[in-house]
Each structure stands twice: as structure tokens, then as C-alpha cells.
């Protein structure tokens, strides 16, 4: 993998407004009733010592993507030798192995014709040097996107200077969406 893209989301700034969800639906023309990203409100602790965190979640574009490994036809693949995982509709049989393989349940049978679709990190914008639609629309500027193996990038700098976590790292999938805590 030559380029490792990552998304870094500051949970201390996220207010769970849902703009990222709307931006994704608009940008990618996601059909009604379906979503490629979603917001989780996680409350932990014991009353009155409660802590709430908002997380904007999506496909983690894992470095060790089990969906790509399990796809029997090669429809799930890495875009241009990066960690961005895409699905080639012309190769997808709709067997749903990738849905079962994703510990984050980030995949969905989306198209009426029955192929699997998911978050693409807006690779069509990324190849023109733009941020994904969700990142560029965030009103609190809590979302960041960039190249993780470039030490000077904003995402690398944030992960150097702040405490962070990823979701369920125990799956071994090596997710690439980071949450600042």
C-alpha cells in the first residue's frame, strides 16, 4: 500500500448535527432510506458522572480489510494501491460475503439492482485534491482527512498531538478512521 488515507474526527468538537450524513447522501445520491454514514451518541459512566461522545461513523477503509479478503470475485478492491476500499458493481454478484465480513456493518445492499455499496471516502473528490463531502461540510470543523503516511499532514499532526482511539481495534482490521478523545 503506497498511500494510507485516514479520517480523524474530534469527538470533543462533534455535536452530532448529522450534516455529514446529509452531505454524503447529496454528494453520492444515496437512495432514500439508506445511509453510508451515521452518528452514534455514546454515553458512558454512572449517574451523575456521565460522559457523552458523538461519533460520525462510516466504513473504516481498514488496512487489513476482511471484506476485500472475503470477496469471492475481486469486486471489493483497494483503489489505486491505497487503503480506500471500493466495490466494482460489474463484478459484484450480491453474495453478501463482504457484509458478513465487516465487523462495523458498514456495507449495505444499496442499488435496486442488488450490488453492494458503501462509503468510498469520496475517492472521486480525493483524486482532485478535495476532501470527502462529509469532511468539507462539517460546521464545527471536527473532521479531517489526509494521508497518514505523510508525517507533515494535518491528520498525522493531530494524531501526534492528541489522544485518540479507533473502533474495535481488537478485530485486527486496522481501521483508518480515528477519533480524538
Amino acid at each position: 500500500m503506497t498511500v494510507q488515507y485516514a479520517m480523524v474526527i474530534d469527538t470533543r468538537l462533534c455535536i452530532g448535527c448529522g450534516d455529514c450524513v446529509v452531505a454524503c447522501k447529496t454528494e453520492n445520491k444515496v437512495p432514500a432510506g439508506l445511509n453510508r454514514d451515521w452518528i452514534v451518541e455514546a454515553t458512558s459512566g454512572k449517574y451523575p458522572e456521565l460522559h457523552t461522545e458523538f461519533r460520525s461513523e462510516r466504513c473504516n477503509h481498514c488496512s487489513h480489510a476482511t471484506c476485500v479478503a472475503m470477496c469471492p470475485t475481486g469486486a471489493s478492491h483497494n483503489w489505486r494501491n491505497t487503503n480506500i476500499v471500493l466495490v466494482d458493481a460489474n463484478k459484484c454478484t450480491g453474495c453478501k460475503a463482504c457484509i458478513a465480513a465487516c465487523p462495523y456493518d458498514a456495507r449495505l445492499i444499496m442499488h435496486p439492482d442488488g450490488y453492494v455499496d458503501k462509503c468510498t471516502f469520496c475517492h472521486h473528490r480525493v483524486e482532485h485534491g478535495l476532501d470527502p463531502a462529509c469532511v468539507s461540510t462539517c460546521p464545527t470543523r471536527c473532521m479531517h482527512f489526509g494521508i497518514l503516511n505523510d508525517p507533515g499532514s494535518k491528520v498525522s499532526q493531530l494524531l501526534k498531538s492528541r489522544r485518540y482511539k479507533t473502533l474495535m481495534p481488537g478485530t485486527g482490521n486496522q481501521p483508518n478512521v480515528y477519533y480524538l478523545i
Partner: protein
């Protein structure tokens, strides 16, 4: 405490609120796949050991059932595909990390193997059909050739069928995202269960008493092995990580699969046929002779059904939905009536 709520509605069909991507089509396919593996193994064993006299049905006629049963399974597998026109894509790639890709190619080996098996025993097994084939010179040549290499065909058939039987379990066990499935023991369990269901099928179809009895003894052994493998699987879950322990709860909770698993699968699908088949060896009974193998077949299907459904309910995450779609519909309805 940790409570995780979905603020925006995800509700992607078949993913939320519970994963439900595979239903009866896949359970039926896995059942028929295992049954086919068993049929091929028993037909090949009978041919290898030259048991035409004692086990004439399995040596000569059983192989014909393999492609029929497998095709039924392949039909339900096809029904499950959401992008049906692209089914050929299974055969434009081989992905070594994907058990499903292995399975697709194993099935491509199984079909010609079963055809060769049938041809090699067509004359003694189905003399009427063989008579027609023998009338054509090329047909006679094919039957001569395949019956001459009957032993070699059987030697190739056994490992191919074992691969098929194991694959039906590994297909599920390779998903680490679904803790209940994530044990290689599923491969062994599905293979043993497949052999057991095939033995049950022969007990129902064979005419000779000696042959039926051989398979009753074989099935008793297979059921005992199956019980051991199920126990190992449960031990594996009970000594596993948090995700495995949560998965095991589904088998111990009455709200989950406790009834289906313990009463119907272990009880009616394994223990009762075990007792019935033991009794059959001592004293024959016309009704019980049918009941045992029928229960084994039902138990075999139930094992796949429970495994496929339960596995999809187990996951690493446990989100609760705050969004209530019915509530939204009511708001929309009120809005319409007010305006």
C-alpha cells in the same frame, strides 16, 4: 455503563437492526452441499471396497443422487444472490483468501467427478439407461472407459467430496466479524453432519437389509462423533473471548436459540435418532426404521439453519436505535392531515 445510540437513522435493510443477509436459501444450500459430500464419499467407498454384493445400492445407484441434490442446493444459492446476472463473476477470478471463491471452484470439480462416478457404475446401477447409452458407439466407449477406471474415479472423488463438506463449514467460520461462526470446528462439524445425513438417506433408500444395517451402524458412529464435535465447539465458545461468551448466551437463553438448539437439534436431531438406531440394530421396527433417518435429516438441516441465523445475530458491536421509523411515519401523517 456504556450505552451507544444511533442518532441518525441507519436502518440499512438486512443490516439493521440485526444482520439478516442470509436466510433459508443459504441454510438449504449448506445442507444439500453436506449431503452431496456424504453421498459421494459413501458411493466411492462402496466402489473402492468392491462391495457390489453387500452394498449394491451405494456401490451402483447412489452416485446418481449427488448431482441432483447438489443442483437443488445450487438453485437456492442462486436464489440468494442479489445481483443474479453477474453470477458468472465467480468464475472470472480466484481469490485465495475467500472461502466462497474456493467453494465456487470446488463445485466445478464436484460436478464432473459425480458424472464420472455415475458413468462408471451406470451398467449395474441403471441397466435401462445404460442400455440406451450402449447403443451409441461413443456412449459404449465412455462406459467402458469409466467402468475400467472406477477405482481411480473413486480415489479422486473422496478428497473432492471431503473438501466440499469442509468448505460448507469454513464458508461461515472464516468471518471473524461474526463470533459464533469463527471456529474452524464448523468445518469438521458440517462434514460429519453431511456424512451422517447421507447415511440416513441411504438407510431410507436402500432395499437390502444388510446394507441398511451397515449404514445404521455407520450413522450411530457419525452421530457420536458429531456430538463430540458439538461439545468441542461449545467448549471453544465457553472458553473464548467476550464476543464468544456473548455468542454462547444465545444458546443458553430461552429468548435466543436454546429451545431450537437443545431440544430440537441435540434432542430430536441427534439423541433420539441415536437411541432409535441402536434399537434398530437389536430389534427391528417398521416405523422406527423410518423415524431415525428422517430425524437425522431434519437435524442436519436444523444445524445449518441455527448456525446461519444465530451467527448473523452475533457481532462485535451492539448499537441501539434511537430512531423509530413508525414514529416518523406518524409525524408525516399528522403533517399531511394538518396541511
Amino acid at each position: 455503563m456504556l450505552e451507544e445510540l444511533l442518532v441518525t437513522p441507519r436502518f440499512n435493510p438486512k443490516v439493521d437492526p440485526l444482520l439478516g443477509i442470509w436466510t433459508w436459501e443459504i441454510s438449504v444450500y449448506l445442507f444439500f452441499g453436506g449431503l452431496t459430500a456424504g453421498i459421494i464419499v459413501f458411493a466411492a467407498l462402496a466402489a473402492l471396497n468392491k462391495k457390489d454384493a453387500v452394498r449394491s445400492f451405494s456401490a451402483n445407484s447412489l452416485a446418481l443422487w449427488a448431482p441432483i441434490v447438489l443442483s437443488l442446493g445450487m438453485t437456492t444459492l442462486f436464489l440468494d444472490l442479489e445481483h443474479k446476472l453477474f453470477v458468472f463473476r465467480f468464475y472470472t477470478a480466484f481469490v485465495p483468501t475467500s472461502p466462497m471463491s474456493w467453494g465456487a471452484w470446488i463445485l466445478m470439480i464436484i460436478y464432473p467427478v459425480t458424472i464420472l462416478q455415475i458413468l462408471s457404475t451406470l451398467r449395474p446401477g441403471y441397466p435401462l439407461i445404460a442400455g440406451f447409452v450402449d447403443r451409441i458407439s461413443i456412449g459404449r466407449w465412455v462406459l467402458d472407459l469409466t467402468s475400467r477406471y472406477q477405482r481411480e474415479i473413486a480415489i479422486v472423488a473422496i478428497p473432492s467430496a471431503v473438501a466440499l463438506g469442509i468448505y460448507t463449514g469454513i464458508l461461515l467460520s472464516a468471518f471473524n466479524a461474526r463470533p459464533f461462526w469463527n471456529s474452524g470446528l464448523l468445518g469438521v462439524l458440517f462434514l460429519v453432519s453431511g456424512l451422517s445425513t447421507a447415511a440416513a438417506m441411504v438407510i431410507l433408500l436402500a432395499k437390502e437389509k444388510a446394507e441398511k444395517h451397515w449404514y445404521v451402524r455407520m450413522d450411530i458412529g457419525l452421530i457420536l462423533v458429531e456430538l463430540v464435535v458439538v461439545a468441542l465447539l461449545l467448549i471453544n465458545l465457553a472458553t473464548g473471548s467476550e464476543q464468544h461468551l456473548k455468542a454462547l448466551e444465545y444458546l443458553t437463553s430461552l429468548n435466543g436459540y436454546a429451545l431450537a438448539f437443545w431440544v430440537f437439534f441435540i434432542g430430536l436431531g441427534l439423541m433420539v435418532p441415536l437411541v432409535v438406531e441402536f434399537r434398530e440394530l437389536v430389534k427391528e421396527h417398521r416405523v422406527l426404521a423410518l423415524l431415525g433417518p428422517i430425524l437425522v435429516l431434519l437435524g442436519g438441516y436444523l444445524l445449518r439453519h441455527i448456525t446461519v441465523n444465530l451467527g448473523q445475530e452475533t457481532a462485535w458491536q451492539d448499537y441501539r436505535m434511537e430512531h423509530n421509523p413508525q414514529l416518523l411515519e406518524r409525524v408525516k401523517l399528522n403533517y399531511k392531515t394538518e396541511n
